[in-house]
């Protein structure tokens, strides 16, 4: 057991230590300063040229958002059409996979452009290699880059002294792909390859086991897909069981690397904020606030899993290995709970165990992580969500000290508060209303067949699904039979709204702040990089999230927990 905890600690240290220099590097890339990847310039230039884009054109927030939406509409059409006609493409489909059902194709296309990667299909049987590479793998790059570029627009907006220009989305997006995601993905893919993850265009192989029966083993170009799904907070696995599958995540070493990959960029972006705006202390303070939430929730989740299932304990059976239900023996409960918490604080959604089988409160922590959705969070968008809480915290703290609230020298006024309040409101709206609808339907149609578990856990499954969709996470409580039109469409719509409004709103705030007059700090200004404001920030995040979701959690995981004690 101790060595398991040690494994978790090693991974944590790796994450935090590496995120600092990575943050510095990302800040330089986004600022357009000199970096070692400058040799890619000709490649990028070639792409600008053939797509007729002027990468230096200054754009205001509206133009940038138009660019973002245009690009994403194109991605959606591309993904949707390929899924529908994947059987017609004459190559890269050795297993002869058929076309996707339309509502599933809609759900999956939205899922991948929105960086959610909810998968109501299983990779082995649902996608051709063409779809795997040119949709699944490709989208996991470009959707992650969309998030980073959107955040870069906000950084730029916050650094402006009185101008409309937020930078150029196209160029930020391309650079995020070529200079941030690609190099990291290559490193991880190579490590995975060396440890046995396949990368081949060969179709499924049939082998004879020692017992004499034949087994079909799915193969394919898995290594690149797995690499980007980890590093881009995507989570869309190559195989159905995701990183619990021995080909996606062969051993403890790959598990550490993949788990590091989940938080590498989200953590680095917090430091990048500090470097970009030359507010290193503020960056560190925000990192600390996030780390407090992340570490305490993760520690709790690990404790619940390591303690084991109370029902088994009641039977008098010793659980020295902790709760092993739904877990891989090569990872054990600590690394599994650690992964589950990591993949839900970020909007990654990959998994190395079955989240549905966790003890109730560990599962509840997963849901809570996604409800907060701004502790490190998805690449780019996590910090963008956090930015909304920052605005509210600055506003409240400003009033508490008797000064019109200001953030980095810009006044926070009615307009900013309005947008931030609406965006923060959106997440509970999407989750609570959709869960209420599904709970209503489920309680009136007991035989609808959605839920494989009755009672509180069934409720948690529905709550998890919509929370995951709204948070663009993508992990699931798999006990829910979600591949039916109701869930495909509901999820799809929620993912779309939950993706784009929380990008547009904050960028609009950044646009508004960029145009405001800069007010230098005085002794009356509240220092944001001190612990006092950190407490306000922490309280705002916890209190708003807890107040919005406490009743829902009480009916789901909390009720389940107390009923099995």
């Amino acid at each position: 057991m101790n060595s398991e905890i040690l494994g978790v600690l090693v991974t944590l240290v790796l994450m935090i230590v590496l995120s600092y220099p990575l943050g510095k590097y990302i800040s330089k890339v986004l600022k357009g300063e000199k970096v070692w990847t400058d040799f890619l310039y000709p490649v990028e230039n070639f792409i600008y040229k053939i797509s007729g884009i002027d990468p230096d054109k200054e754009m205001d927030w509206k133009e940038n958002m138009k660019a973002l939406l245009k690009l994403n509409v194109f991605f959606f059409i591309w993904a949707f059409v390929i899924f529908l006609i994947q059987d017609k493409i004459p190559f890269w489909n050795p297993a002869g996979i058929g076309p996707m059902e339309p509502t599933l194709a809609f759900n999956t296309a939205v899922s991948f452009i929105s960086n959610t990667n909810i998968q109501h299909y299983s990779g082995e049987t649902g996608l051709s290699y063409f779809s795997q590479l040119l949709v699944v793998c490709y989208m996991q790059f470009v959707s992650a880059a969309t998030g980073i570029a959107a955040l870069a627009l906000i950084f730029k907006g916050l650094s402006q002294r009185k101008a409309k220009d937020l930078g150029n989305f196209y160029s930020l997006w391309l650079k995020s792909n070529t200079r941030i995601l690609l190099p990291l993905a290559i490193v991880i893919a190579v490590i995975l390859l060396l440890n046995g993850t396949p990368a081949t265009f060969k179709g499924p192989q049939t082998i004879k086991t020692l017992q004499g029966d034949t087994v079909t083993v799915a193969l394919g170009p898995a290594a690149p897909v797995v690499a980007i799904k980890q590093i881009g907070t995507n989570g869309g696995g190559f195989f159905g069981p995701n990183s619990a599958h021995p080909f996606e995540n062969p051993n403890y070493i790959t598990n550490i690397v993949e788990c590091w990959g989940i938080l590498a960029i989200p953590m680095a972006l917090v430091f990048a904020f500090g470097f970009y705006l030359n507010k290193k202390r503020l960056g560190i303070m925000i990192f600390a606030v996030m780390a407090i939430v992340y570490l305490s929730f993760t520690a709790l989740a690990i404790k619940f899993e390591v303690d084991g299932n109370p029902l088994i304990k009641k039977m008098g059976i010793e659980q020295t290995t902790g709760s092993m239900e739904g877990k891989e023996v090569r990872f054990g409960p600590a690394a599994s709970a650690f992964w589950a918490s990591s993949t839900t604080v970020t909007s990654n959604g990959s998994s190395n165990s079955n989240h549905d089988s966790q003890t109730p409160l560990a599962g509840g922590i997963d849901i809570m992580n996604m409800m907060i959705n701004s502790i490190f969070g998805g690449v780019g968008v996590g910090f963008i969500n956090f930015f909304m809480f920052l605005i509210i915290a600055v506003f409240i703290a400003g009033l508490m000290v008797g000064r019109t609230p200001e953030f980095l020298g810009k006044k926070i006024e009615a307009k900013e508060v309005k947008i931030a309040a609406l965006i923060i409101l959106l997440h509970p709206f999407l989750i609570l209303v959709s869960t209420a609808i599904s709970a209503y339907i489920a309680s009136h149609n007991p035989n609808i067949g959605w839920l494989t578990n009755p009672s509180y856990h069934g409720f948690s499954e529905m709550l998890y699904e919509f929370t995951s969709a709204s948070a663009n996470n993508g992990s699931e409580f798999t006990g829910l039979n979600a591949n039916v039109p109701f869930w495909n469409i509901m999820d799809g719509v929620i993912m779309l709204i939950g993706r784009f409004l929380p990008i547009i709103g904050p960028v609009a705030i950044a646009g508004s702040l960029a145009e405001k007059k800069y007010i230098p700090e005085s002794e009356g200004t509240l220092r944001l990089d001190g612990y006092a404001f950190g407490i306000v920030l922490l309280a705002v995040i916890i209190v708003i999230s807890a107040l919005s979701f406490f009743p829902a959690l009480a009916v789901g995981p909390i009720a389940e927990h107390f009923s099995i004690l």
Binding site: M400, G402, L432, A436, E523, V543, L547, F550, V555
Partner: protein
């Protein structure tokens, strides 16, 4: 003697008025202005329906008639308490305004007609631009500006200050205020505003709440509160199907109770009371603000421009030392100086005589028979006397006297060094010469007001930069600035310098406040983010400013800044308190809702409340009472302490954050212990 302006917090007469108003304000078309409390009103209306319908249908939601009725009444009380908070703030403001309005009762006015004849009319018939005459013993009938004459006026009705003041046409102190009394002389005044439109009238309207417009920060906060209300609406509406799924039917009474407890009724109910009380505090400090926004802006001020004279130093310079030179004896020098000052009625001239009387009384009386006094002229920049025997005595700044005298270089050097010494220590040197020979230097000094250093320290801690504006030369200015502890100074200031300084600071994004009275201050007053004009100032200055100080107290700016800060702090902390309260309410209500169907959730009932009905009732009662309990804080305002922003934040986090977390746990438990006695 300051007029007593402290009305008790809950003066019985005002409370009675306020209670009546609380009911009047129930009108939905009025309530809708306050979205948080409006939703409570809707909830109450639903509960009324549920109570009536449920009377015939005991199965309705599981709660009985009496219980539903109790909840309905409690919700109704919640609204009334909020309305009462606003009403009592208004009533106090009105009472405050009333005491000022008393000064504007009908008085006869001696209206000056175009043909020069005088007609006695009522003060209320005077219009802007009319002229009237006021003589010793008259009450000033309307605000205006003296266009002819000079008078001593008793302004104690407005300022509470009993010492008479001089108001004179063509000076920076030419403004007169209705209700004050002319003590001597006769003045002609031009009326500056129609009745009902003077600053005072406008301020009274603001305090009374009728014309109160929400300030920018208040609007932003209202939006945030509306956001919270929407979240909790979602939470409560979706809880019904969640409960159904878990096999629990939650009654309407419970759902509405949960909703009302969760939405920020505490701050929602007190928000406008806090705003009105802020204006009221300004008025109490004898400051008339033209808008609530101006008061709020005052709290954000970064830079304050203060005139040296009257603000930092007491009135005028005084003679403090005589320095004879060139071998003249002290007696000869003092005698000469006194002779030259006898006809000098400036405060400096008088102070020379006073000092001489103290040091060398033996020279008095002096003989000035047939002497010819020379007044100060801009050309020679000297004043003095030509005695009967032909002796010419002159005094003035050293550079003027130097031109007039013809001493040798060694004398000039002696005087030079003396002059530099005096100037370097903050004094003003005044040279004196007899028959074109310099005889010595008089030291004039500024006296810094006692206690002013502490005030500047306080401002410094608030993060406000203080700037002294003076006509003195840079050396003197620097010395006084250092002594008083101001951060910066503008020496040899011309009106345009003030203006430029303000614009420069504003370009850097800072908010600037200044006080002024003269017409040539008007542009700077208008340019400043907060401009406070003295009531005695010219009409132009008062028009340009966004506040008027009735006391004509140049240090009033500091008070105004604190009032502004207090306004925001009170709002911020009551908001924090209100939101954090919800944690305890959840722990009271959520287990109560599911206690029967999900017994496990009783583990969340950490307050060990007796039963579901009692738990919910207790939370509702607490929610209503806390509004009442916080009214004094809303009216008085949370005290501002200059301990730096971080210090204030930590302090208030403890009091209102921690307090807001813990108090409801104790309060709800205590109420439950009583309520459960009745709900067995």
């Amino acid at each position: 003697m300051k007029r007593k302006r402290n009305i008790k917090l809950f003066e019985p007469a005002l409370v009675k008025q306020a209670i009546t108003q609380s009911f009047v304000k129930l009108n939905p078309s009025y309530m809708i202005k306050n979205p948080v409390m409006f939703t409570v009103e809707i909830g109450t209306a639903i509960m009324v329906a549920v109570t009536i319908i449920g009377a015939n249908n005991p199965a309705n939601g599981g709660t009985g008639f009496v219980y539903n009725l109790t909840i309905t009444i409690l919700l109704f009380l919640t609204i009334l308490f909020a309305n009462f908070a606003e009403a009592i703030a208004e009533e106090r403001g009105k009472a405050q305004a009333e005491s000022l309005r008393k000064t504007r009762e009908e008085t006869p006015a001696k209206k000056l007609k175009d043909d020069g004849s005088i007609e006695i009319v009522s003060s209320s018939s005077l219009r802007k631009g009319d002229k009237y005459i006021a003589e010793a013993g008259d009450l000033i009938p309307a605000d205006g500006e003296i266009i002819e004459g000079l008078a001593s006026i008793d302004e104690s009705a407005i300022t509470g200050e009993s010492a008479p003041v001089i108001r004179e046409a063509g000076t920076d102190k030419s403004g007169v205020v209705g209700g004050t009394k002319v003590l001597s002389d006769k003045i002609t005044v031009e009326v500056s505003a129609d009745p009902g439109e003077t600053f005072l009238d406008k301020m009274i309207a603001l305090v009374e709440g009728a014309n109160r417009q929400k300030t920018p920060n208040e609007i932003a906060l209202s939006i945030l509160l509306a956001g919270f209300t929407l979240v909790f609406l979602l939470v409560v509406v979706t809880l019904e199907p969640f409960g159904k799924y878990a096999g629990t039917t939650i009654s309407v009474a419970f759902l509405i109770s949960l909703f009302v407890c969760l939405i920020p009724t505490t701050i929602g109910g007190l928000l406008s009371a806090i705003g009105i009380a802020g204006m009221d505090r300004a008025l109490r400090a004898n400051v008339i603000a033209k808008s609530g926004k101006a008061v709020e802006t005052a709290g954000d001020i970064d830079v304050v421009l203060l005139d040296k004279t009257g603000t930092i130093t007491i009135g005028n310079r005084k003679a403090t030392n005589f320095f004879p030179v060139n071998g003249y004896s002290k007696e000869e020098f003092i005698r000469g100086t006194v002779l030259s000052s006898l006809a000098d009625h400036t405060p400096e001239g008088k102070s020379i005589i006073e000092l001489a009387e103290k040091i060398l009384p033996s020279i008095f009386p002096v003989n000035v028979e047939n002497a010819e006094f020379i007044n100060f002229s801009a050309e020679t920049r000297m004043s003095g006397v030509n005695l009967q025997d032909g002796t010419e005595i002159r005094k003035g700044a050293w550079d003027s006297i130097r031109k007039w005298t013809s001493n040798g270089d060694h004398v000039a050097e002696e005087i030079n060094s003396r002059v530099l010494e005096i100037a370097g220590s903050g004094g003003t040197p005044l040279a004196v010469g007899i028959n074109k020979k310099a005889i010595g230097v008089v030291q004039l000094e500024d006296i810094i007001k006692p206690g002013i250093q502490e005030r500047f320290k306080r401002l410094h801690k608030m993060g406000v930069k203080t700037v002294m504006v003076t006509g003195d030369n840079p050396v003197t200015a620097k010395f006084i600035a250092m002594q008083a502890g101001v951060d910066d100074f503008i020496a040899e200031a011309k009106p345009v310098d003030k203006m430029n300084y303000i614009i420069r600071e504003q370009k850097e994004g800072k908010l600037v406040a200044m006080m002024g009275d003269g017409t040539n201050d008007a542009p700077a007053l208008a340019q400043a983010d907060v401009g406070v004009a003295m009531n005695s100032g010219t009409q132009a200055a008062k028009e340009a400013a966004n506040m008027v100080d009735l006391d004509n107290d140049p240090t009033k700016l500091l008070e105004v800044i604190e009032i502004g800060k207090q306004l925001l702090i009170t709002r911020g902390n009551v908001t924090t308190f209100s939101i954090v309260n919800d944690v305890a309410k959840y722990f009271a209500i959520v287990p109560a809702l599911f206690m029967v169907t999900i017994p496990g959730l009783n583990a969340l009932n950490i307050m060990k409340l007796a039963n579901p009905e009692s738990a919910i009732l207790s939370a509702v009662i607490f929610n209503a009472l806390i509004i009442l309990a916080l009214i004094p804080i809303a009216l008085r305002g949370v005290k501002y302490r200059p301990i730096g922003a971080t210090g204030i934040l930590i302090r208030n986090l403890w009091i209102y954050g921690m307090g807001g977390l813990i108090i409801p746990f104790i309060g709800i438990k205590a109420i439950d212990m009583i309520v459960s006695l009745f709900l067995k």
